[in-house]
């Protein structure tokens, strides 16, 4: 089974891109399963389900969704194996940009769009810099110059990645992404694999449900703003 991990900024078109790509995989006679990890709610599973493929949803609820995602990788893999999937698309929510879901030996895709602005790629962090493939969407509504500048800025953040432009509405470019998925090596099992980018320690009283503002309510790992910092 090939494990494709998809991350990206919010509303960049992750599901749209992967639905088009899954359609191409299905045409090749492969069994595709999809799992969406989100926080509070999602309707993306319905879009995958319309392809007639097995779909699972994991809602992290009160837990950080990235930590929830890592803690469930073995279970998700097991579920996909039971579906006899050839390709598992594991889509995570685009969130705080601090963590990255990329795992060694999996195919890690980051989806971002031209509208987030040419200075944003450097703020996206490890989700972008640890990806194998960066998919850029919404190129059909910005100028050629902006597309070229944006692509360049993405390449600065991740010089190793293959950069693909995909139109999430029409699916143009999704065929190349499908071929890239077929080119990657199947996974021999997720257990024991390593995250490419460690997730941060975020163990403070607010993680545990504290809601009141003030020093006396703060415990654990607490970091304060350094107002002396000059950029």
């Amino acid at each position: 089974m090939r494990l494709v991990i998809v991350a990206g900024t919010p509303s960049s078109g992750k599901t749209s891109v992967m639905v088009h790509t899954a359609r191409h995989l299905l045409r090749n006679g492969l069994v595709v399963a999809a799992c969406k990890i989100d926080c509070l709610q999602t309707s993306d599973d319905e879009r995958y389900a319309r392809l007639g493929i097995p779909v699972a949803v994991g809602l992290s609820d009160y837990i950080c969704p990235d930590h929830f995602y890592v803690a469930n990788l073995e279970e998700v893999e097991q579920w996909a194996k039971e579906q006899r999937a050839d390709v598992l698309v594991l889509e995570t929510a685009g969130l705080c940009h601090r963590c990255a879901p990329a795992v060694h030996d999996c195919l890690n895709i980051c989806v971002i769009d031209n509208l987030i602005g040419v200075d944003t790629p450097k703020k996206v962090g490890p989700m972008l810099s640890s990806a194998d493939i960066v998919v850029i969407t919404k190129g059909d509504i910005v100028s050629q110059a902006e597309r070229e500048v944006f692509r360049y800025k993405v390449a600065i953040e991740n010089p190793e990645a293959r950069i693909l432009e995909v139109n999430g509405l029409t699916g143009q470019g999704a065929l190349t992404l499908k071929n890239a998925i077929l080119d990657c090596k199947p996974l021999d099992g997720i257990s024991g694999k390593e995250l490419r980018s460690p997730m941060p320690a975020a163990v403070c009283s607010y993680c545990a449900g504290e809601t009141t503002i003030g020093k006396s309510h703060q415990m654990g790992m607490v970091k304060k703003v350094d107002f002396g910092r000059l950029d």
């Binding site: 059909d140 910005v142 050629q144 110059a145």
Partner: protein
């Protein structure tokens, strides 16, 4: 150096071989892609853009300078083959024209950006009605000014050898000159359009039908005559537009009425 792109036939939507067996586009040439919605225009463009190797839905093959491209072996090939300008594109960045063009030129590795930026501005103002300056903010540009700047930028700064002009029907720019500027830079220009004026400005057109390339029609001398009529009509419409914008009441001067009738008569004789 990209001198020729060839598209070798694949299959149409019914799985029958395409009637046009091979389509060649040379550097400096303009080709129109015509056909009703759903006839396969976008797929043809997409095949070219992706260097199809019998791996797309149509099974077409794209040759560059008569050679097969092995796109998976050469990462550089995966981008910058085709630049696009379309009606739906806008500048979304909040910056003035000068800073923006400098940034683009820098990304392209252009050594003397100052000179080229001046040239881009000159061309932009040749193509659009109302002049802009280097200090004009991108978000303040009108539709026509934006399209004019996009064409000028694609012509001089972008290094893509193929330019796709997608549905710029009423963009308010001098389209004939835009095509001349692009081909003058040695670009191959593909025009996807439903507009007869724009279609007839090209030297040949490929007609799409049922997902396949159905035929290639060269623009005939008679069609070039019709083009002259169409351009005259556009000019008279532009005159009316200008007049309305200036606050005039139209239809009162003899000149306009006469010209209108003349056009109608000539169009009937042509068609």
């Amino acid at each position: 150096m990209l001198e020729r792109i060839s598209i070798l036939a694949g299959l149409d939507k019914d799985g029958s071989p395409e009637k046009v067996v091979r389509l060649d586009i040379e550097a400096g040439q303009v080709l129109a892609v015509v056909g009703p919605t759903g006839s396969g225009k976008t797929q043809l463009i997409s095949d070219i853009e992706q260097y199809a190797e019998e791996d797309t839905l149509t099974g077409r093959r794209v040759l560059i300078n008569d050679q097969t491209v092995y796109k998976n072996r050469d990462k550089r090939l995966s981008h910058n083959l085709m630049a696009q300008v379309s009606q739906n594109m806008n500048f979304v960045i909040d910056m003035n024209i000068e800073d923006f063009l400098l940034m683009h030129a820098q990304v392209r590795g252009i050594s003397n950006p100052g000179a080229i930026i001046g040239e881009v501005l000159t061309i932009t103002n040749q193509l659009a009605g109302e002049p802009v300056s280097l200090q004009t903010n991108l978000t303040q540009l009108s539709g026509g000014q934006s399209r004019a700047l996009m064409v000028a930028d694609v012509a001089l700064i972008s290094n893509a050898p193929i330019v796709l002009i997608d549905e710029i029907e009423n963009a308010g720019i001098d389209r004939l000159q835009a095509l001349n500027i692009l081909t003058g830079q040695g670009k191959m220009v593909l025009v996807v359009s439903h507009d007869p004026t724009l279609i007839l400005m090209t030297e040949q057109r490929v007609v799409m039908k049922n997902g396949g390339m159905d035929r290639i029609c060269p623009t005939t001398p008679q069609e070039k005559n019709i083009l002259k009529d169409l351009l005259r009509l556009e000019k008279s419409v532009a005159g009316l537009r200008h007049s309305l914008r200036e606050g005039n009441s139209i239809g009162q001067t003899e000149d306009y009425v006469k010209e209108g009738i003349t056009w109608q008569e000539s169009s009937y004789t042509c068609l």
